[in-house]
Subunit: 793 residues, 2 copies
């Protein structure tokens, strides 16, 4: 029998597994074991539906709209919010052994394990159960959300009778499964409680389809299932399918009598389609066709295609670590999550939680473009392209928003599902204009890394130009010819509405320069966008004149103008249980003091790396380390990158360790609401940009590889113009290996090197000067030590 | 017959009247004709209840509590809002002539007038009506909300039959009359739709009582009525009273047959009591006893007492103007409103709309202490005392709020009914800490003006000390020994969360100094409050070190640090229909630019008048005039005061004219929601502090009287230590006349004068130097010219 109360995953190179069923931490496991392809997302709920943490079956882009409540109204406040909702749940496979419903909490659970296979792209579950009346069965279920068949999820469910028994398998589609209630407003609760209206349902043979429509957002979803039943026994199973009168449940029942040792296998395929415009019949047909198409090759083909798509990804993306085994596992887990969050999205973005939970209401934020998209650009560029083309496809919403704000160009939404602004607190959303530069930066990086001229022409120039226009209308020229961005909020959410935020200004500067260069490269696109030569020159002038405040007295870049003069937060007087600070102190007090939630100036040191001298970076990093409380999962990776750059390799490893175990160990206690996709992307970034010292810039990729003592070797890959560059780092040297294509120029420390396919180059690591004393963090806010996170292995 | 569609009041010295019934503007008239005594408020609804703009029967302090909705939650956000609700309406007197219900929209309204008598304290209505079947009656109703009987409102209702007819008069109490819906949240709508639960009702003879209780705030209200019926005819009226089963309506029906020329008179008295603690029986008994007590002297006594209480007020407070007659009317109307809003409040404050409407949800704000209370201190000091003692009585709420914000002392609520914070937008409430200094300033002024040592000991020292503690915990010491208040919001609501707001810092400085002096004067109180000598010294140090930013380059005090460097709002590009700016532009943009909603630095020039040189005042006034759009009713009076001080007397008169006609002419289009009490107080202030040049300070009252060309003489009075000082200004000289008491030292321009009772002193007005060019306002935002507001009379 398996003990309950265990918690934690084993450490394997290519998988993440757990034993037993820990009913206290089901939600955490459901997020970690969630499967997705960027279009369909299934949380790792148990097949039989209960017990559950949070039921989750999502389609990227499907949401319900609801009123936004304000205690006091204000001009430009978004009127409508958006919340992800569950689509019809196709995961459900209920099991009766004799007349006993299988439930891990009943009878005796003789064994139970689940394993997420990072190469197979499957979630496998194996269990042995003795029913309350003593009948024993074994169950193996294997779940796939298909990378090859975009709308299809699949389950192979095998029951083996240890004792002779009758077995009933009830496979369902179930609509209107509620999400956790996070809204206080009863109007919103009412809308989200049962968001779906049934508009169509059919059952035929072992197949059924449900079509539903939301009440407000006007989206329709068709979910279709079909089954193949196989058996090893003498008795042929009976199969019947029905739909309930309300159209909210379809059910295929498979009944069979098994002798001891006989098995029954059900393969279930579920197809998902949604649209705001297609007819019910078309949606239904598409979902059913997708299922039929996927069934053509059978289960083995689906599984083979799944593995083969992953092989292709790992060929470039795999990171190999000669060091802590748990770090090896964590980085592969992280890359797998980034991959499955995005591989089959089309004209969509990745929500903050991917498709692994309903946290943040399923919204996408700036951190996708800032932290996740660069990983995609380097390892899965077609997904990066899709996400950027989605931004382009909803530019009209952003242009409307800019007009509403009396600005020009486009003002991208701070949080959204469909491209319209859905933020309810303007100082940390509307004012956080850096989102526009973050997206622009992602465009510039994508174009440099891929050379995708078609994308630049069709979408990139316009994204860059519309954001450049925004900056021009936002900015102010002073009497001395300086350009300022006043009253904006940077990445750090413990500051707001400040003048000349360094991160924002430098990012806007890159945006303006990039827009000018792109417009010059594509004069016909510029003309179509009414971008004149004068306008381009204006962008360049503003970029040149961009103000970057510097506190000469302290020789530190302030986060924003005057920041370093503010009172420093009283960290000594802040107790450990007062973090997250935002849950225990008013914004009023946080905003007026020096206390940093997440890397802001330190993020500028990374994103605008050419704007600072090494000495400035080193001083600034130490200064902001003492202020940064890391109340956001977005911070540790950025801190790791700069810690490595300024020579604090042990500290960099600690930050990496923290971000690498954030979701696996549920360090923030909220992984149950979904994985922190941007933090997971940060694992890769801390390795490549941190220990690899990789930086992207107009002159190409630069590397300054250095390993901490605990890591003896490190290997990673990036795609450059479609070719794979593998970087193999040892303490003493680094080997660069270009797989194919045209020669590529990179910079190793300060040395320019031309790489040719088939001619690896090995270069020495220059000695590291003394990094000075290890920077200190606020009282009690040092990162989790790597030794603790990774164990002593 | 009276034409409908007329709008506007006549111009009389001691009254405000209107002819006809303008159904389009009923709400405006209801506010202007509202009666109150600071405890009970009745809007000027028609006796018969319909047509109506907004039904209004209020008790100061009676509200319902409701949830506060937030799109995104934050620490320290108030969870509960408060909304004034109607108490049982005792105004209602329905009339049937024959079987025809009287309604001004039916039959023929032969004549109709209403008049608010500013000396009698009555609202009188006279009308002639011919019913649809041709029966003619005259009706005179006189309404009083008693100054002598705090809980009592009274109506004398006389019907004269021109033609013989039967007359039925139905006098009612009616509970659960809804307010206009201003909340979007259905939870709040539900609570406020029918906020009252009936807990008791009785009817006996011509009397009835209803007792109701709120569902959430736990307040009970008893409203009781009784009637005396008199008649001139032969037939004795039948009188009967009943209560409906739900307990929401009581009704006394008087029926009589009148010959032509006969009359029937009903005097109705309504008593109002409320409590959060008293039993139903006690409340009921108090309401009934109040009615019985008031009936003892009969109608004439009630009316005599009313006039006599007003006579007493006018003896000191009356302002006489040899100038525009409409200004004369307006200033008396304004003073009457300030008087009736506060005269009988006990341990209560005055809501922003007084008891004339439900605007601002019945909340009281900083502008009461900043603008209204000084008028009371000078003309009705016991009311000022009650309001300040109310602040003292709810200090525990403010201490709790300070604790919640991790501050010391007390943090007064930005908007409230019962003393708890009820603001839903922190940048313009929590951050607007100046409310604490505004109340402290009112305490200091009250004590100086009255010498009320008992108040200072019992309440004043604690109010001052707790706010001084707040400033100490809010402030920051810089390395050079300067004291700063960072991240606060000043009076101007088009700026927020700025450092070292000059108004706030100077007001806090006065607060700290006043607290220190008061604590030294009352060592035993200080000890009881644990105020040590060190703490007092700390207050004085902080006051001394208080930072007052100055823009040396422009020789201007910035509103806050760095303000004058911000971009200036593009007024030329702002069209007239884009005001109020807050309804057409996001806070984000308003906050980061130089655009002033309401006097802020200019208010500092007045409130902290000793901190600026005349040259600084003059320059600052001109500078901020060009930025001030006056989107708040609180601004014009302050601008008038400083315009007069810096010599722009015509401009000062224009601002006075605007504020004087704001409610009478409904300039903001929202007087129907209630009068702007602080603006009305500003009429007196613009006259006394503006043209009188009156300033209060530690060295006593100072005067610098100067009249604009259109005003040939001006006389006003203030109370000093219980004695009346009358100031009579002509263009050439000013006469100061002390009625009684000990000698008083005042300053006339720069000359100190000792005044003795019975010995008026006349002093010359020194010549006025050239004031320079008239300051200009933003495009289209110049004040209403006096000639337009007052007519050419």
């Amino acid at each position: 029998m398996v003990e309950s109360g265990q918690h934690g995953f084993d450490v394997e190179e290519w998988s993440v597994g757990s034993e037993g069923v820990d009913t206290e931490h089901l939600a955490h496991e459901e997020s970690v074991f969630g499967l997705s392809n960027g279009h369909v997302g299934w949380r790792g709920n148990l097949d039989e539906g209960d017990p559950r943490g949070v039921a989750g079956s999502y389609l990227n882009g499907v949401f319900e709209e609801h009123p936004m409540p304000y205690a006091e109204e204000g001009y430009g406040y978004p009127e409508h919010g958006q919340s992800v909702i569950n689509v019809s749940n196709g995961q459900l496979i209920r099991l009766l052994v004799g007349d006993e419903a299988f439930d891990v909490r009943r009878g005796t659970l003789d064994s139970h394990s689940r394993r997420l296979d990072l190469r197979a792209g499957t979630l496998q579950r194996d269990l042995g159960w003795t029913s309350p009346v003593g009948t024993r069965v074994r169950v193996r279920s294997t779940r796939i959300v298909s990378f090859a068949h975009r709308s299809v999820a699949a389950v192979r469910y095998i029951v083996e009778a240890i004792d002779a028994t009758e077995v009933t398998i009830v496979s369902e589609l179930l609509a209107n499964e509620p999400l956790p209630i996070t809204h206080e407003d009863p109007r919103v609760q009412e809308l989200l409680k049962e968001p779906w209206e049934a508009v169509h349902s059919t059952a035929q043979g072992a197949a059924a389809t449900l079509v539903h429509r939301t009440r407000k957002s006007g989206l329709s979803v068709a979910v279709s299932m079909d089954h193949r039943v196989a058996h090893s026994g003498r008795v042929t199973p009976e199969v019947a399918t029905d739909v309930d009168p309300a159209g909210d449940r379809a059910r295929t029942t498979v009944h069979v009598a098994l002798e001891a040792g006989e098995t029954i296998e059900v393969v279930k395929l579920v197809g998902h389609e949604w649209s705001s415009t297609l007819s019910t019949a078309t949606l239904r047909d598409r979902a059913e066709t997708a299922v039929a198409d996927a069934f053509r090759g059978g289960w083995e083909t689906i599984a083979d295609e799944q593995r083969s798509r992953l092989d292709e990804f790992w060929e470039c993306a795999d990171v190999r670590i000669d060091g802590p085994q748990r770090l090896q596992q964590a980085v592969r887990f992280a890359l797998f999550q980034v991959f499955q969050a995005s591989v089959r999205m089309e004209l969509r973005s990745v929500p903050g939680k991917g498709l692994t939970g309903s946290g943040y209401e399923g919204h996408t934020f700036w951190d996708f473009e800032a932290f996740v998209l660069p990983v995609l650009t380097s390892t899965l560029p077609h997904a990066a392209e899709q996400a950027l083309r989605w931004r382009h496809s909803v530019l009209d919403h952003a242009r409307d928003r800019a007009t509403q704000l009396h600005l020009r160009g486009a003002a991208l939404p701070w949080r959204t599902i469909d491209g319209r602004e859905a933020s309810g607190y303007w100082p940390a959303s509307t004012a956080a204009f850096h989102i526009n530069a973050d997206v622009a930066g992602a465009v510039l990086h994508y174009v440099r890394a891929t050379g995708d001229e078609a994308f630049e022409r069709e979408a990139g120039v316009e994204l860059l130009a519309e954001s450049a226009r925004l900056w021009m209308s936002l900015g102010r020229w002073d009497a001395r010819g300086g350009f300022h961005l006043d009253g904006v909020t940077g990445p750090d959410e413990y500051s707001a509405i400040a003048n000349d935020n360094v991160f924002t200004n430098l990012s806007a500067q890159l945006n303006l320069r990039g827009a000018a260069a792109a417009a010059r490269r594509h004069p016909e696109v510029a003309e179509a966008l009414s971008v004149t030569a004068d306008e381009i020159a204006g962008w360049e002038d503003a970029a040149e004149a961009m103000t970057v405040p510097f506190d000469a007295e302290r020789s530190i870049h302030p986060q924003s103008a005057g920041y370093t003069d503010l009172e420093i937060w009283d960290f000594e007087a802040t107790s450990p249980d007062q973090y997250l600070l935002q849950n225990h102190f008013p914004y009023f007090d946080l905003y007026r003091k020096q206390v940093v939630k997440q890397a802001d100036l330190v993020l500028a040191l990374w994103f605008a790396h050419e704007a600072f001298t090494p000495e400035q970076k080193s001083r600034a990093f130490s200064y902001y380390e003492a202020l940064t409380v890391r109340d956001s999962s977005l911070s540790a990776a950025a801190q790791s990158v700069i810690a490595a750059e300024v020579g604090h390799l042990d500290l960099a490893l600690d930050y990496l360790a923290e971000v690498a175990t954030l979701d696996l160990d549920d360090l923030h206690g909220n992984t149950g609401e979904g994985l922190h996709v941007a933090a997971l992307a940060g694992v890769w970034t801390a390795i490549t940009a941190g220990f690899g010292g990789m930086r992207d810039g107009e002159t190409g990729l630069r590397f300054r590889p250095r390993l901490p003592a605990q890591v003896h070797g490190l290997e990673f890959g990036v795609r450059i113009h479609g070719c794979i560059l593998r970087v193999e780092i040892t303490p003493a040297s680094t080997t660069y290996r270009l797989a194919s294509g045209a020669p590529v120029t990179i910079t190793h420390f300060d040395e320019e090197v031309v790489l040719e396919p088939g001619h690896p180059v090995t270069l020495d690591t220059p000695p590291l000067g003394p990094p000075g004393p290890r920077p200190t963090q606020p009282h009690g806010r040092a990162p989790r030590p790597a030794a603790e996170a990774f164990g002593r292995n």
